[in-house]
């Protein structure tokens, strides 16, 4: 009798646990536990047939189906261009100011953050085709009108780099800007980059190199880093903006930035 009452008291506790979780996976596991304990209750009430069905459907099958659904919808997919300090990899880990902001935002929405590193020029396409939710990676300008920009989270300035003696590129080859920052760094190191426009985060990383072959100037104007979202995702855009603003007001953003740039 005591075990009956104990198990029955667990049921409402687990139900409340499941419906108050923000993380969906935790909620689903709470529901699976609920079903399992309900099956035990049925068993104690001399209904083994019902208990078997409850365990098979409630605890196993439905939990599986929910997990499948979460794998599809419970993720915040970020297409990012690798940028030192803002969004970068170290081994398996993704780090950076933007990672911390977006991770906090994903938790706020009850989602899992997934970061895909893409070359700069494919990010906008990925957003427009719905393959990613948010574009990131030191973005300070956008061209496409079908994209919305979030409010800026950090102000920046631009630096122009140009070779003192610009060499003519070999004939027949069209020069294009490298897709990845690391390739650009290699070019600059080798003294083969005729001109480049770098934002502060990237410039700080490059400034450790020997830049004696280049003329460095600060470009006029003030910019700020932001995230981009497809214009069809207005709700997400609003949520992201209010999250970034809230982070700015609470001073949490300053702390994050200080951790990476000090």
């Amino acid at each position: 009798m005591i075990s009956h009452v104990f198990l029955l008291l667990l049921l409402p506790l687990l139900a409340v646990f499941a419906i108050t979780r923000r993380r969906r996976l935790t909620a689903v596991i709470g529901m699976g536990l609920f079903s399992l304990i309900l099956a035990a209750v049925y068993l104690l009430l001399n209904a083994p047939d019902v208990a078997i069905t409850e365990a098979a459907i409630g605890a196993a099958l439905v939990t599986f189906l929910y997990i499948l659904a979460i794998r599809k919808t419970g993720r915040l997919v970020v297409a990012g261009n690798e940028t030192p300090g803002l969004l970068y990899r170290e081994g398996d880990k993704v780090l950076g100011v933007e990672q911390e902001i977006l991770n906090g935002f994903a938790r706020h929405l009850g989602l899992e953050l997934v970061v895909h590193f893409d070359p700069e020029e494919t990010i906008e396409g990925a957003l427009l085709q719905g393959e990613a939710d948010i574009g990131a990676g030191g973005i300070f300008s956008k061209a496409d009108e079908r994209l919305l920009q979030s409010s800026g989270y950090l102000s920046t300035v631009l630096y122009g780099l140009s070779l003192h003696q610009a060499r003519q590129p070999p004939r027949g080859t069209t020069r294009r800007r490298p897709s990845y920052f690391m390739d650009l760094v290699e070019e600059i190191k080798a003294g083969q980059c005729p001109r480049a426009r770098l934002d502060l985060a990237r410039f700080l990383s490059v400034s450790r190199l020997d830049l004696s072959a280049y003329r460095v100037e600060r470009l006029p104007g003030s910019f700020s880093y932001f995230f981009i979202v497809s214009s069809e995702r207005e709700e997400l855009h609003g949520q992201l903006n209010s999250y970034v603003e809230g982070l700015k007001e609470s001073g949490g953003l300053k702390k994050i930035v200080r951790r990476y740039f000090s």
């Binding site: 009956h4 029955l8 409340v16 923000r22 009430l45 083994p48 078997i52 069905t53």
Partner: protein, 235 residues
């Protein structure tokens, strides 16, 4: 509790509390000893040869009701298929699962399948039956799908044949049970002789119906899972 309406939480707690109260109150309840219940208890073993009273009732006395449950399940499977076919079919390359998942799926699938078959075959002797055994076997297939990818499993188990088998089984059940009713007779519940109580063959036609329902539910569960995976999710 952020962003969660307090009223909803209070309502949920009250609802679950009431449910639990009913269940606690039900502990004093020891089964219906009214006339029908008593009659079943006295005569079920003799009539049906099944030791499991639940199976005796829903596959013999109440076989006609069970048929409609089977039809409800079939319509649900049909509905999933109908509404998902042609809808953003994704050619998702299977995500390579970790070795842990694959190994545990390999280890767990045979026992799960065996448990499902056991529940189906011994449904008239011990707890279980076609519905629960079929769902358990289907869930085992889902485990394989998580480890290997849904399309691989669908190919390996010849899904096309399975789907035809599913409808064949439904047809067989209809012929066995509904057709006699349409002819003005009772559903066929005496296809096999009832043997000695406790033997595998003792349940008479309950064994046949459990087997058919088990196959039907097994395939139906897999079809539902597979269609959801293919059209609404990824694996």
């Amino acid at each position: 509790m952020r962003n969660f309406p307090l009223g909803m939480a209070v309502f949920a707690v009250i609802l679950v509390g009431c449910l639990c109260g009913v269940l606690i109150g039900g502990f004093g309840y020891r089964g219906a000893v009214d006339e029908a219940g008593a009659a079943y208890l006295l005569r079920a073993v003799e009539d049906t040869g099944a030791a499991n009273m639940v199976s005796a009732i829903y596959l013999n006395y109440r076989l006609y009701d069970t048929l409609f449950e089977l039809l409800v399940f079939s319509v649900a499977v049909l509905g999933v298929r109908f509404y998902l076919v042609g809808r953003n079919e994704e050619q998702v390359g299977s995500i390579p699962e970790s070795q842990v998942v694959r190994t545990s799926a390999d280890l767990l699938f045979p026992p799960i399948l065996l448990l499902g078959i056991y529940l189906v075959l011994f449904g008239h002797l011990s707890p279980g039956g076609g519905f629960s055994g079929g769902v358990i076997a289907g869930t085992g297939l889902l485990l394989c799908a998580v480890a290997l990818g849904a399309e691989v499993v669908a190919r390996r188990f010849h899904e096309g044949i399975l789907e035809r088998l599913e409808w064949g089984v439904l047809l067989a059940v209809i012929i066995l049970a509904i057709f006699p009713v349409a002819m003005g007779r009772v559903p066929l519940t005496d296809l096999l002789p009832t043997g000695r109580l406790g033997q595998l063959g003792s349940g008479g036609s309950i064994l046949i119906y459990n087997g058919l329902i088990g196959i039907k539910v097994f395939i139906g569960t897999w079809v539902i899972i597979h269609y959801f995976m293919r059209h609404r999710g990824e694996i």
